[in-house]
């Protein structure tokens, strides 16, 4: 049992017990009991992103939700589905794919990452971002509160303004205001065909300018990702281009061909040294996107520290230029249309890592953005807030916590400002 429990360690803290509900009703009664005993609870999905967050103040029980893994309903003709929080992203997408649909929700390590965990983290992956962020695809949610009560909001329809949109609190809330138990999603039909263009560039500014040209051009990319050669090498990709741009497009045959053509022209006009095309269902194409999604989270690419930077799209180039002067071995993956830059630092000592992170945040904030440190050694976490500064809305956020979890039972201390 000890070895099993140690698998639930978060930032060096190991719980006394693991709770494993297999139904929402189980979850409710376990949470009520934990609440009565004032246990500090860490909700646990696939455990893929437990590195994220400030260190827990207290940690008595891991709440493993993988037993809540059912698809409650999938209504293909209505493009909606309701699932339990513990189902993995891969299992859900596989089931939807069989009916020619998908939910615009992706995560690193999708065969382990759960729907609940992915929503609690709330960040968008590179895939299908055209269809929205995680918060945009949720149409209803059942949450088990810190006091063990189950509450629901939203519904199973795509257009609804009945009551407050409570799910918003929990998407990106890191399980600090309630435990996501069940979620209803809006689904999208899969494109008839998909293709990816992978292109190589001699410099970062060229690659970023090319990516922005694609973003503003006639094509409607489903995914648009740029990455440096260090990232490419860590993913064991052949070639030696300084920067690469990957663009995924989809549609019916004629519109796809036109998009590919226009996209290729834009990439070449911005100096692409080469442009390779991959077509679904070529496993090389799905493999490329899996590697890009998993980057920084799978074993071979795992960094010492990493920052998720959010900027307006036009600032990515300037941000990366400013980062040139920071010493240390790093790899960069960026989703320019979404304004996300993921910076990973490797093998650096704690002092250098701390400096790299603080500079990253400084530059991001100066350019009007923010930086969340997604991976950070526990020793460093003591001296910084991995989330950054929520500024003038922090007071309201603190009161949210007081209202929904007055006993500070759910992930205490792990969220922004020590919430």
């Amino acid at each position: 049992m000890t070895t099993q429990i140690s698998a639930y360690t978060v930032d060096g803290k190991t719980p006394h017990t693991v709770l494993r509900p297999s139904t929402t009703e189980d979850l409710r009664s376990m949470m009520a009991a934990a609440s009565a005993d004032k246990l500090a609870v860490v909700p646990w999905g696939g455990g893929t992103k437990m590195a994220l967050g400030n260190p827990p103040e207290r940690y008595d029980a891991a709440l493993d939700l993988q037993g809540l893994g059912r698809i409650v309903s999938h209504n293909p003709a209505d493009l909606t589905a309701t699932v339990e929080a513990g189902i993995t992203i891969a299992a859900l997408q596989d089931a939807l794919t069989k009916r020619g649909q998908f939910v615009a929700l992706g995560a690193p390590l999708a065969d382990r990452a759960t729907v609940g965990g992915t929503l609690a983290v709330g960040t968008a992956g590179p895939l299908k971002w055209q269809y929205g962020s995680p918060r945009d695809v949720v149409i209803g949610m059942t949450v088990v509160q810190a006091d063990g009560k189950a509450t629901k909001s939203g519904g199973q329809v795509v257009k609804n303004v009945s009551g407050y949109d409570m799910a918003r609190l929990h998407v990106g809330g890191l399980g600090t205001l309630g435990v996501i138990a069940q979620v209803s999603f809006k689904l999208t039909p899969l494109p008839a065909r998909e293709a990816t263009l992978l292109s190589g560039f001699a410099s970062m500014p060229q690659a970023m300018a090319a990516a922005l040209a694609v973003f503003h051009g006639g094509a409607v990319p489903l995914a648009l990702t740029t990455f440096d050669d260090d990232a490419a090498r860590r993913m064991a990709m052949p070639g030696s281009d300084a920067w690469r741009v990957a663009v995924e497009m989809g549609g019916r045959p004629l519109s796809l061909e036109r998009q590919v053509k226009e996209c290729e022209a834009a990439l070449r006009a911005h100096g692409a040294a080469r442009v390779d095309r991959l077509d679904a269902p070529d496993p090389k194409m799905s493999g490329l996107w899996r590697k890009l999604t998993d980057f920084g989270w799978d074993q071979p690419t795992r960094p010492t520290v990493s920052a998720r930077v959010s900027l307006v799209p036009s600032k990515s180039s300037e941000f990366l230029e400013a980062l040139e002067h920071v010493p240390g071995e790093r790899a960069v993956v960026s989703h320019p249309a979404h304004g996300t830059v993921l910076v990973h630092w490797y093998g650096t000592a704690d002092d250098a890592a701390a400096k790299a992170l603080s500079t990253t945040r400084e530059v991001a904030v100066r350019l009007g953005g923010s930086a969340v440190f997604e991976r950070c050694p526990v020793a460093l976490k003591a001296s910084l807030d991995v989330w950054g500064d929520a500024r003038d809305s922090l007071a309201v956020m603190r009161r949210m916590k007081e209202q929904y979890d007055p006993g500070r039972l759910l992930n205490p201390g792990r969220f922004v400002g020590g919430i």
Binding site: L177, G339, S393, R399
Partner: protein, 480 residues
């Protein structure tokens, strides 16, 4: 006057001419596009965030409620002073502060009219996607408060999908930003919580909105059916076929007759339903998808199919749909507009039930629907002068919403709960659900100062008589 001191303080902040409190001037702020009305103590028209903040502080110090208001086109009573107090009308804050075509966003004040924003961004090939039918009048601030939709939200999403951040004034008068210019910001998604909170938690003083590319091609198709069921089945088939059109709108026979009489759209007199489907995007895909839509529509035995390739033709096809609601006055002195959403697969079943309810009650119901996303707008036709008509109308309204919830749908798709549907909240939500929602007011420390008496049930189970009276007046300026 009892409130002279309050008025004086407000005048110092916003200027003499922007505090309205003479009874004859207040009357225009007594109602919005909905059924209810209530007279505020005063209406204040601030010009800046600082003035909004100042007004909030003064109102709070006097212990009077604050009701934010945009253009007053809302359809659930969101902008009326249900408990009196001060209406803060944001219609002087009308500047588009910035259009950033590279990052596809705009920064606007809350009083900017929805359509004017899209007109201003058109030269960059961009537009603001939420398009409520009142878009020529309604404001972005109002859209944020109500999480407005519109015919084209089927493909594009509703307001919450298109707002990146807001500057808001909180109940203590302090100013805070929620969200921002970037897609992700640290902390809880307060932006998402405030959008659709119906003015009960904060006042928006600036909004950063996403802009999307104008579609390269648009094709509109109008299919006329002898029976409503055929049109409903066609809608379900289109959704199930893997196409997501930009809009799928529907009207039933009564709505058609009214529209025909008013705008002469050229619909056959014996038409049972009209379906309007718009496909947009890249021209290659529009070509293929509109052909597929037409094929699906033909499978359900239409009387006729018309298509539009250009803006003028498109305008003609939409004329009947857009004019339908205003034309209902030709069929009855009054109508009551309902706004439920159902799963799209239940369309045939629910439309049949609504016909039955109408027959049982002896009151005609005309139906206008955003059929593509299952958003129904049954309009109950009645005559307030006939004894019992109003009561029966409200009773039927409740039954229809109950029906929507019972088939897996919801109380309101786009109009909001407001005061109109607050007593129906228990159809959808348990005490615990509503208690959890109500905690947001505590988290925002509003002390119930912002828009009190809305969204949550009052505790009484029956709708009060003042609301019944007000129904009689509904509709003249309503958009849907």
């Amino acid at each position: 006057m009892a409130h002279e001191g309050l008025f004086q303080e407000l005048k110092v902040v916003v200027g003499e001419e922007y505090v309205v409190h003479a009874p004859e001037d207040l009357v225009v702020f007594e109602y919005d596009g909905s059924v209810d009305k209530a007279l505020p103590l005063a209406v204040v028209l601030p010009a800046t965030t600082e003035q909004v903040s100042g007004v909030v502080k003064i109102a709070r110090s006097h212990g009077v409620p604050i009701v934010p208001r945009g253009a007053g086109t809302g359809l659930s009573g969101g902008a009326i002073a249900a408990k009196g107090g001060i209406v803060v009308a944001l219609t002087r804050m009308t500047r588009i502060l910035e259009i950033d075509p590279v990052n596809r966003l705009a920064v606007v004040e809350p009083g900017v009219v929805n359509l004017e924003l899209s007109m201003a961004t058109a030269k960059y090939g961009l537009f603001f996607a939420p398009d409520p039918s009142s878009q020529k009048a309604c404001t972005i601030g109002g859209n944020v408060a109500e999480n407005s939709g519109g015919p084209h939200c089927l493909a594009y999403g509703v307001t919450t999908n298109h707002v990146l951040g807001m500057e808001v004034v909180l109940a203590d008068g302090s100013v805070a930003w929620v969200g921002g210019r970037t897609r992700e910001t640290p902390g809880y998604d307060l932006r998402g919580i405030l959008i659709g909170s119906e003015g009960t938690l904060a006042i928006t003083t600036k909004a950063v909105v996403r802009l999307v590319k104008l579609p390269e091609a648009v094709k509109t198709l109008l299919a006329i059916y002898p029976r409503l069921n055929d049109a409903s089945a066609a809608v379900s088939d289109i959704i199930a076929s893997g196409i997501v059109p930009a809009a799928i709108e529907m009207m039933d026979d009564l709505a058609i007759q009214a529209a025909e009489a008013a705008v002469h759209a050229g619909y056959p007199a014996d038409a049972g339903a009209v379906l309007l489907v718009e496909v947009d995007g890249l021209k290659e895909s529009v070509e293929v998808e509109s052909a597929l839509v037409e094929e699906v529509c033909r499978r359900h035995n239409p009387m006729e199919i018309r298509t539009a390739e250009d803006a003028a033709q498109r305008e003609r096809l939409w004329a009947g749909r857009k004019g339908a609601l205003g034309a209902l006055g030709r069929l009855a002195p009054n109508y009551y507009l309902i706004d439920g959403t159902i799963p799209r697969t239940k369309l045939v079943e629910v439309m049949a039930r609504i016909k039955e309810i109408s027959a049982e009650a002896g009151l005609p119901i005309a139906n206008v629907l955003h059929a593509g996303d299952g958003n129904l707008h049954p309009c109950i036709l009645f005559d307030e002068r006939k004894p019992g008509d109003t009561e029966r109308t409200l009773e039927i309204g409740g039954r229809i919403l109950k029906l929507c919830v019972d088939v897996g749908g919801v109380l309101t798709g786009e109009h909001g709960i407001g005061v109109e549907k607050q007593e129906y909240m228990p159809f959808m939500f348990t005490e615990d659900d509503m208690a959890s929602m109500a905690r947001l007011k505590l988290a925002f420390a509003t002390d119930d100062a912002f828009n009190p008496g809305k969204v949550f049930p009052k505790g009484a189970s029956c709708v009060d008589i003042s609301q019944m009276k007000a129904v009689a007046r509904a509709g003249a300026g309503a958009f849907v």
